[in-house]
């Protein structure tokens, strides 16, 4: 059942993105930014965690979870260090994703030849 919900919810978020692509003049950059902001705002209302519990990877894999992880790390550190903690913790949970994207992107760019 986990897999069904992951498929339906994950696919559903992509459909929202596709509708924005086709029906508005926003560029992919605008739409991705909107999705991340949406994830952060939803997490601000504590909604995204419930969403993850329900949809599993369907909520973790889309880029909206990036905004959620940013805020989550920030709030975890804010509990310990107050206001400064927000800046200390903001990349805490997303560092794995960003670091690996940079690392693998760099390695692939060095090894492979550009096409098309």
């Amino acid at each position: 059942m986990d897999y069904v919900w992951a498929f339906v919810i994950g696919g559903g978020i992509c459909v929202i993105g596709q509708l924005l692509f086709d029906l508005t003049k926003l560029t992919p950059g605008h739409i991705m930014s909107m999705f991340v902001v949406t994830g952060a705002v939803l997490d601000g209302f504590d909604l995204y965690d419930q969403f993850i519990q329900f949809a599993g990877a369907g909520a973790i894999v889309p880029i909206t979870s990036f905004g959620h992880s940013l805020l989550h790390g920030a709030m975890t550190q804010a509990e310990e260090h107050g206001f400064l903690g927000i800046a200390i913790g903001i990349f805490q949970m997303t560092s794995a994703g960003i670091a690996s994207a940079i690392l693998f992107g760099f390695i692939v760019a060095v090894i492979f030849k550009p096409r098309g």
């Binding site: 696919g11 992509c14 596709q18 601000g44 206001f83």
Partner: protein
């Protein structure tokens, strides 16, 4: 000459020749490809939480890392960009699309050298996502912290 090709009527004439995006079909493709990527993600979460010693909450990070690795390699082979042409948002919205924009921007500028080409262009497309993510998370974080303190 038919009225359709009247020069004053250019805008209307051109409109009839512009391809209309088939919104329904595009959405269907995006749904299936995006859903499939999330199912692969769910499989990876299961793998990391049963075979390795991750709790279900911690399994998110290694899962995303694995998806990013797969996406970067597929981008190197040129497969992911073909998938992107087919699936549109279905391949752009998942975190694999984020890795794809970083890798493809780096690859594209390889001829300008490693420092000025690869490294400085890497975040050309992915940069806005990080900037707006951090700014919005910071603002929401400050508001939430203030509310928590006042309560």
């Amino acid at each position: 000459m038919s009225k359709q090709f009247h020069p004053n009527n250019y805008k209307d004439t051109a409109k009839t020749y512009q391809p209309r995006p088939n919104v329904f079909l595009n959405c269907l493709k995006a749904f299936f490809v995006g859903g499939l990527i999330c199912v692969i993600g769910q499989g990876l979460i299961q793998l990391y939480s049963t075979v390795f010693d991750f709790t279900e909450k911690e399994a998110g990070n290694p899962t995303l890392t694995t998806l990013i690795l797969i996406s970067a390699i597929l981008t190197g082979f040129g497969v992911y960009d073909k998938l992107g042409q087919f699936a549109g948002a279905g391949s752009a919205v998942p975190v694999t699309g984020f890795a794809n924009t970083i890798t493809s921007a780096a690859l594209e500028h390889k001829s300008e050298g490693l420092v000025l080409g690869v490294a400085s262009n890497m975040f050309k497309l992915a940069g806005p996502v990080i900037v707006f993510g951090v700014v919005s998370a910071y603002i929401v974080g400050v508001i939430r912290y203030l509310i928590q303190q006042l309560m």
